[in-house]
């Protein structure tokens, strides 16, 4: 119960103000179609640079929590999921809104998100120290394999093509080696002056997540996207609370599935929402009502995608392996404050980590309150025209990437990476494994160098890196993550071939 002693930090005036700002801002950003939670958190990181580590993490944690929940607003009222995690919410939520039950759907979505989110954060509180204790047994070779596992898991699971996912991870790992080698002082892959300091994480994150979205908006051209929000007649919050307590089956299915999926690195909220929705339908006696505006569909999907948030930070804080792309960006936020996640994080920075986790607990409650009372208003703001969004994100990306290191080289790298990522995305490559390679590359490189020195003094690198039960288990997990992705790719390919061949007949 160590976390209880750090609750005071959350109630300090500045921390509380940041929590409010992060929650409200996150709800608005989450509700804005075209602005993903990952991009929102990436754009916020430069602001945290000027805050203390605790304050910065409180802002990022609040934004992470509420952008996922805020995505439900546009999913329900506009039928445009604010984030991939809200795809399943749109299926029933929008049908309810069309029937004039928009407020009911929004209430249920935020209440379910709150319940799922609180349970997810409680899991984070109780599982993280246990895993951290276990991780103390790890040596450099194990930590090297864990970093590689982080890249292969996200590379395999976050991409539609596992070759392209792993290739993205490799590109990220290579980009992380650009610059001067810390030990030997040698220059590596410095082709232009801007690269002499290496690739700074924050400008890279902004470029990789924000610039492709700006270019996507440009690619739509001068379209007059008239989006009509549905009117939201009032609905009693108490009735929604009562309804939620009567839908415990959907709520528990969503929460359990979201929590489990959150613990698996790389899977993310989209899968959590869709799997929970599917399972809630399978276990429901009213299966046929799903898709026609059934409240249980909204409850299952929203409880799952927010229950995922807390557990996705468990492998992040203990093993440096993020559970979702947004958690990967959060890892960048930790690193710029000099906080290196790992087994000793609770010994070295207990105040920062526990205050951050506690703030997420309070953030879930604030998210429910603000969400319920400001959802309809947030949906109006979310209708901001695409040209303003594109121009605004471009300017924010420019200032955000400059403000970290006050270097034009960082801004140029940000833009170059962003344009490159936009093109790669068009060919099926994914930003998340590339970012993870970029973030975990230096960590893997350091452990590899440390391990190589130990190996040279012992029985050589082969014995040090490839033998021992823990090394073998970790290598098996790396191979299994690749094999699983290969198998699902093959399965997907055979599914798409059958209808084609049938059509040919």
């Amino acid at each position: 119960m160590e976390f209880l002693s750090y609750f005071g930090g959350v109630f300090e005036p500045i921390a509380l103000m940041l929590l409010f700002a992060g929650t409200v801002g996150g709800l608005i950003l989450g509700a804005t179609p075209g602005l993903s939670p990952t991009m929102a958190v990436a754009l916020l990181i430069p602001f945290t640079f000027h805050l203390s580590p605790t304050q910065g993490l409180i802002l990022l944690g609040a934004a992470y929590t509420s952008t996922v929940a805020g995505g439900a607003v546009s999913a329900i009222l506009l039928k445009i999921p604010g984030a991939p995690a809200n795809i399943a919410t749109a299926l029933d939520g929008n049908e309810m809104a069309k029937r004039g039950e928009g407020a009911r759907a929004l209430h249920l979505s935020f209440l379910a998100s709150g319940v799922g989110g609180v349970i997810g954060v409680l899991l984070l509180i109780f599982l993280t120290p246990l895993l951290a204790q276990w991780a103390l047994k790890f040596g450099p070779s194990h930590l090297f394999w864990i970093a590689i596992l982080g890249v292969t898991v996200i590379g395999s699971l976050d991409s539609k093509s596992f070759v392209k996912g792993l290739l993205s991870g490799c590109i990220g790992l290579w980009l992380s080696t650009i610059g001067t080698d810390d030990i030997m002082g040698a220059d590596r892959f410095i082709f232009v002056d801007a690269l002499s300091g290496g690739i700074t994480i924050i400008p890279a994150l902004i470029g990789l997540f924000a610039i492709p979205q700006v270019l996507d908006m440009f690619a739509k051209g001068r379209v007059s996207a008239v989006i009509d929000t549905i009117d939201v007649p009032r609905y009693k919050v108490f009735d929604s609370v009562k309804e939620l307590t009567c839908s415990l089956r959907a709520l528990s299915i969503g929460t359990v599935i979201g929590s489990i999926i959150g613990l698996i690195p790389g899977v993310g909220g989209q899968i959590a929402g869709l799997v929970a929705y599917d399972q809630a339908r399978n276990f429901s006696p009213q299966k046929d009502k799903f898709g026609t505006g059934h409240p249980e569909g909204v409850i299952a999907a929203e409880s799952a995608n927010n229950a995922m948030v807390g557990p996705s930070l468990v492998p992040l804080l203990t093993l440096s392996i993020p559970g979702s792309p947004t958690a990967a960006v959060l890892l960048g936020g930790l690193l710029i404050h000099g906080i290196f996640p790992g087994s000793d994080i609770f010994d070295k920075h207990p105040e920062v980590v526990w205050t951050f986790i506690n703030s997420m607990l309070l953030g879930q409650i604030l998210m429910v309150i603000f969400g319920i009372y400001t959802a309809a208003w947030a949906a109006r703001i979310a209708k901001a025209p695409i040209p303003i969004l594109a121009a605004g994100v471009l300017v924010l990306a420019l200032f955000g990437s400059y403000s970290v290191g006050q270097s034009m080289g960082d801004v140029q790298i940000m833009l170059a990476l962003g344009i490159g990522m936009y093109i790669l995305e068009k060919f099926g490559f994914s930003a998340a494994p590339l970012v993870l390679g970029l973030i975990l590359g230096p960590i893997a490189g350091d452990y590899f160098n440390n391990g190589s020195m130990i190996a040279a003094a012992q029985d050589g690198p082969w014995v040090y890196f490839f033998t021992g039960p823990l090394n073998i288990i970790l290598i098996a997990m790396v191979v299994a993550s690749i094999a699983y992705s290969f198998w699902t790719n093959m399965l997907r390919a055979s599914f798409t071939k059958v209808p084609n061949s049938e059509a040919a007949k």
Binding site: F47, H50, S159, K160, S161, V163, L166, L167, C170, I171, L173, W174, T177, I183, M184, A186, R188, F189, I211, V214, L215, M217, F218, A219, G221, R222, S224, P385, P387, I388, A390, A391, G392, L394, V395, L396, L398, F399, Y402, S403, Q406, M408, V411, Q412, L415, I419, I423, L424, K426, F427, G428, F429, G441, A444, G445, F448, N449, S452, A493, T496
Partner: protein, 153 residues
């Protein structure tokens, strides 16, 4: 070769070329100790790049629709504004002036409202001024970020 296959072959070939260059440099540059980790990465990089290229050349790359000509045409003006802003204007004209011009230009180019209406031009100018005032307050006054001044601010 179909257009779709060609669309996948070109980036596949470029990535393979980068992977080969990285591998070559990793195994030839000195001191060798500084390139141990890049060597391991480059082996996986080149292996996957070869696999990706073979799939693209064999017409097996199905993920990703590629760049549509219409999309490329639409994004070109915005992309040019971005490049001018980052590689020239921000330093030559000053961060705030160039960002204001970039915001206004991008907004005007992509705004579906008619370009002949004075009312719409005034609206664009007002929104640009309001947004940039907020950015100035945030970065210059609150966060105290020193930006390149150039000819202006």
């Amino acid at each position: 070769m179909t257009n779709s296959r060609l669309q996948h072959v070109i980036p596949g070939a470029l990535i393979l070329a980068i992977a080969l260059l990285v591998t070559y440099l990793s195994f030839t540059e000195e001191p060798a100790e500084a390139f141990l980790f890049p060597r391991i990465i480059s082996i996986a990089f080149v292996g996957l790049a070869v696999w990706n290229f073979i799939r693209a050349a064999g017409g097996m790359a199905k993920v990703g629709r590629g760049l549509a000509m219409n999309d490329a045409k639409n994004l070109m003006p915005g992309l040019i504004v971005m490049l001018i802003l980052v590689f020239w204007a921000a330093k030559a004209l000053g961060f705030y002036i160039s960002a204001t011009l970039a915001f206004f230009t991008v907004y005007s180019i992509y705004d579906p409202a008619p370009h002949s209406s004075t009312k719409d031009w005034i609206k664009r100018a007002v929104i640009t001024a309001a947004f940039m005032a907020a950015i100035y307050a945030l970065f210059a006054l609150l966060l105290k970020v020193q930006t390149p001044r150039g000819m202006f601010i």
